[in-house]
Amino acid sequence: MADQRKSWRDRGLMLATLPVSALMLFFFLVPLGLTAALSFQSTKYYRVVWSWDTGTWIDVFTHGHYWSIMLQTITMALACVALCIIISLPVAYALVNRMRSVENHVKVLIVFAFLTDAVLKTFGWVLFLDRTGVMNGMLETIGFGPAATDILFNPGATLLGMVYNLLPYTIFTIYLSLARIDRDLVLAAYDAGASRLRTFWEVTLPLSRPGVIAGGVLVFVLSLGVFLESKVMGGGTSPMAAELIRQTFETRVNWPLGAALTLVVIAIGVLTLGGAGALFLHLNSRKGTA
């Protein structure tokens, strides 16, 4: 069947795996290693001095400022995850169970929006929400005063942009896990006299858990790297870790510090992934023994 054992002497295997492995090793793993090494250097007159000490790390751990930005980034990321999951669940459920005939059209529309340039979409939000933008213009024509709302340039606007740009990830992961649910289980629950709501709560929702966890983790990790939304829509009112890292490299030209902060964010992401993986295994093993 499908599983073909291959030896590393096999030419097909070499052709299929070696170029891409070389690319990832040389331009992904090696740079990560270099970043780790850089964080143990120091800087003098905007130049890296290969001093091999822990000065940068002591700096990172003793400055509360960096950690409060990390904490704020994590808070924003968690809020973004929660909103994405809450919005995606009914959408994915409706796509799988109610909208078979137009399902593909809706998916195409979502994919198109997802694949459109994020800078432009973020700019589009600014034009829509601005004090003289489309929303205030429409509110004015239906009788509200001029500039009735002022939504832009605060952390809420940043969050709106993040949810906007990351929502497709949760919609699609939850959609995939719901689409795999055996319809008979749901029908069996109806037969046993469960109401729709109860069936959703006790059958569908638990079965959608892999998609919810996968999508949530993906959105969390990706939100750690956001700065477009915080700069363009948040107007710099919500300093995010990525903005801090960008400034450290570009404005302060302190590479060791930038490398160390990058590693902190990566570590937060990796710990989250590890935690989610463990949770996944735990849930699976419980299912096995139940």
């Binding site: 992904f28 009914p90 593909n104 979502i110 929006a113 459109t116 003289t132 933008g133 990566i266 992401g269």
Partner: protein
């Protein structure tokens, strides 16, 4: 009215409402940009007083526009070719073969997907700068291409892997029994069978690269693509040429996504009613 029916009605409102709401949400900024691109005014404020194509003209006359467009096209085309090729090989190795270090290979080729793009860009920029100071070069469009391929290959791989997953290999066996060599089997049997996946992966790759901001921003040096051109513009203040640019840059995405949908539907129709001979 029974409680169950009431629940059913409520559920329908929530479900259909959420899909409609999400679609409106996704298209608000896109439609806003299209609307403003036809405004006559220099100021991007609503309501729009007069319509015109004036800003399209101004955009075409802007000096930085054409190089940015060219860079975007080159970057997206080259990245697509490499990411799709790596995706095909990687997906087959992921799903169909078993070999030593397979876990490591899977992890290595999937990991960039789990990285925030900015961090991926920063980490690679550090490496390119170090390489550059040793070998005396500076980052440019080519380093952005490498960055895009690293970032996009996992997407292409996953999309093609889904297609490889439902693969029936009796045809390959038959071709091999009939005396075809491995390259012939791949070209005549394997590739046509996984073609829908390859095609959607290529489109996805092109558009991810075409609209990419973070990685280009980190790695392209002084070269500008459309997204970084827009970013540097709106960072200093909005200009009426950007909505026009946005509207134009939706066109390739619209064409490609539409094309992919046509192909998908034709493939689905063919699967539903297999032709007698081909």
């Amino acid at each position: 009215m029974t409680r169950d029916r009431l629940e059913g009605h409520l559920a329908n409102i929530v479900l259909y409402g959420s899909v409609a709401g999400v679609l409106v949400f996704f298209y608000i900024p896109i439609l806003t940009l299209i609307l403003f691109s036809f405004s006559e005014s220099r100021f991007l404020s609503f309501p729009i007083e007069a319509l015109s194509l004036r800003w399209y003209g101004e955009l075409f006359a802007a000096n930085d526009f054409w190089p940015a467009l060219r860079n975007s096209a080159v970057l997206a085309s080259v990245s697509t070719v490499f990411a799709t090729m790596f995706g095909i090989g990687g997906a087959i190795a992921w799903i169909r073969w078993r070999f030593r270090f397979q876990r490591f290979f899977q992890g290595l080729t999937f990991a960039p997907l789990l990285f925030p793009q900015l961090l991926l860009g920063v980490v690679m920029l550090l490496w390119f700068s170090v390489l550059g100071s040793w070998l005396d070069f500076s980052p440019g469009l080519w380093s952005a291409i490498i960055g895009h391929v690293v970032y996009i290959t996992p997407f292409a791989l996953v999309i093609i892997a889904v297609q490889v997953h439902g693969f029936d290999d009796t045809l390959e066996d038959a071709a091999r029994d009939a005396g075809a060599n491995r390259w012939q089997v791949f070209r005549e049997i394997t590739l046509p069978l996984i073609w829908p996946g390859v095609f959607s992966a290529a489109i996805f790759a092109f558009l991810l690269s075409w609209g990419n901001f973070y990685i280009t921003y980190s790695l392209a040096g002084t070269a500008r693509t459309l997204p970084t051109f827009v970013f540097s513009g709106i960072a200093v203040g909005s200009s009426p040429i950007y909505p026009a640019l946005a509207t134009l840059s939706f066109v390739p995405a619209l064409l490609l996504v539409g094309l992919a949908d046509v192909f998908r539907r034709r493939a689905a129709a063919r699967r539903a009613a297999p032709p007698k001979s081909e």
